[in-house]
């Protein structure tokens, strides 16, 4: 392990005279047990990439290390909060998550296939929408706020029990129209800076933009604990921030546009491991 870090530091010196400090060749194993795929062949539907990378590989050696041990990962604190919520009876039906689903570990693999089609509701659901679906339809409980703390905590729990399982989001059949809508949004330039997702995350990943090292914008590792704001961050909140940063009028968290974009961007990561809660800067 030590030599791996040292290799990283040497590579950094060669790669960049500036702050990037990333070890793009490092491998991620969590708790010396869960092997995470952080680079793999791009799926066929991602036309312009040959290899896909987790955002983890673009972060500094120090930030990378925080995710290698659950005792070091600040995001895992919120997983504990969510375990308590998982076992709490709420709503008019006298149910908890555990009443139907058993232990959280029984949900292994679920995170990996979201967003996905829901037959009864006849809509594409993100995992947040499905959690709220359970709460209102099965438990008779109130919805949680989209990207609110309770929801992000639960998303962190659901991700944590799927860590190491490859993302495998369906893009055809009933979700195809939403997927195509998401693809169109990905390549649409927004705002006064006139930037699309692809401009930075497809054409320029690995490059620095001022002090920021651009990733591929993969979302396999959400929710993510950001050192910058010291809290869990959801996928759509991050989309909102990105579009805001193009000097555009952004879309709302939970909007049809962002559900479509989440489906499309998730599918670009098919083959990477579920990794959340991750640690980023």
């Amino acid at each position: 392990m030590k030599s791996l870090f040292k290799g990283g530091i040497a590579a950094v010196a060669i790669l960049s005279a500036f702050a990037a400090n990333a070890d793009e060749e490092a491998d991620l194993v969590i708790n010396e047990e869960i092997e995470i795929t952080v680079r793999t062949d791009a799926p066929a539907h991602v036309e312009n990439l040959s290899t896909i990378y987790s955002g983890w590989v673009f972060r500094s050696t120090e930030t990378q290390a925080l995710q290698m041990d659950d005792f070091e990962n600040p995001g895992m604190i919120f997983v504990d909060d969510a375990i308590a919520a998982w076992n709490t009876v709420e709503g008019t039906e006298g149910q908890s998550c555990a009443a139907c689903h058993g232990a959280p570990e029984e949900m292994a693999g679920v995170r990996a296939v979201y967003p996905k089609w829901n037959d009864e509701a006849e809509e594409v659901r993100t995992i947040a929408m499905q959690v709220n679906g359970c709460r209102t339809e099965q438990m008779g409980a109130d919805e949680w706020k989209y990207d609110g703390n309770e929801m992000l905590n639960m998303e962190a729990l659901l991700a944590s029990v799927s860590r190491g399982i490859p993302v495998n989001v369906a893009i055809d059949g009933p979700v195809q129209a939403m997927w195509e809508k998401g693809r169109e949004l990905y390549y649409t330039r927004f705002g006064q800076l006139d930037l699309s997702c692809a401009n930075c995350h497809e054409d320029n990943y690995g490059n620095n933009i001022r002090a920021d090292h651009l990733s591929q914008g993969q979302i396999n590792a959400f929710p993510t604990y950001r050192l910058k704001n010291a809290k869990l961050n959801g996928v759509q909140g991050r989309f909102r921030g990105c579009i805001r940063d193009t000097r555009a009028e952004t879309f709302a968290v939970g909007s049809e546009e962002f559900i479509a974009l989440e489906l499309y961007v998730a599918s670009r990561g098919n083959g990477l491991s579920v990794e959340g809660p991750s640690v980023r800067n």
Partner: protein, 157 residues
């Protein structure tokens, strides 16, 4: 240095105050994207241009471009080409055109247009995420662009 800078600021304020600058929609680009005439009608101030190059709230040119002469200002980007020697191989008209609207020179470029105020998709009110209210201001003023052009012309090998 201080005196040069305050002179630059004075010129910029005077320009905005008298609104003598060419409006963004009125800028004439050549077939290859060059803009011959000064946007403000005034010469640029290279020292003021340097400040605009490195300021995050202004041009922030080094966010994407490496410039050896600006090494004391940290964190240069890699998204665009290095600007070392650009004053040697680019004319003022080329530089002005690229800064004002690089898409007139390089179709499909990632580089934002710094002197354009219309034709955007969902333009926002600066970095608030909310819709823009009223007319947009270009990212830089006419004089600020002239100042950056003047600075870039000093970058010779």
């Amino acid at each position: 240095m201080k005196q040069i800078l305050s002179a630059g600021v004075a010129i910029a304020i005077a320009t905005v105050g008298f609104a003598e600058g060419m409006m963004p929609d009125d800028v004439v680009y050549s077939e290859y994207g060059e803009v011959e005439a000064s946007l403000s009608g005034q010469p640029g101030d290279a020292a003021a241009g340097l400040e605009i190059m490195v300021s995050r709230g202004k041009g922030n040119c080094i966010a994407c471009h490496q410039v050896t002469a600006l090494e004391e200002y940290p964190f240069h980007g890699e998204v665009g080409p290095s600007l070392d020697g650009v004053g040697e191989y680019r004319t003022a008209a080329e530089l002005r055109g690229i800064i004002a609207n690089a898409k007139m020179t390089y179709e499909g470029t990632i580089m934002p247009a710094f002197y354009r105020a219309s034709g955007f998709n969902r333009p926002g009110n600066a970095f608030t995420g909310k819709a823009a209210e009223g007319e947009l201001s270009p990212l830089l003023t006419a004089q600020e662009i002239e100042d950056v052009v003047a600075y870039l012309q000093t970058l010779k090998d």
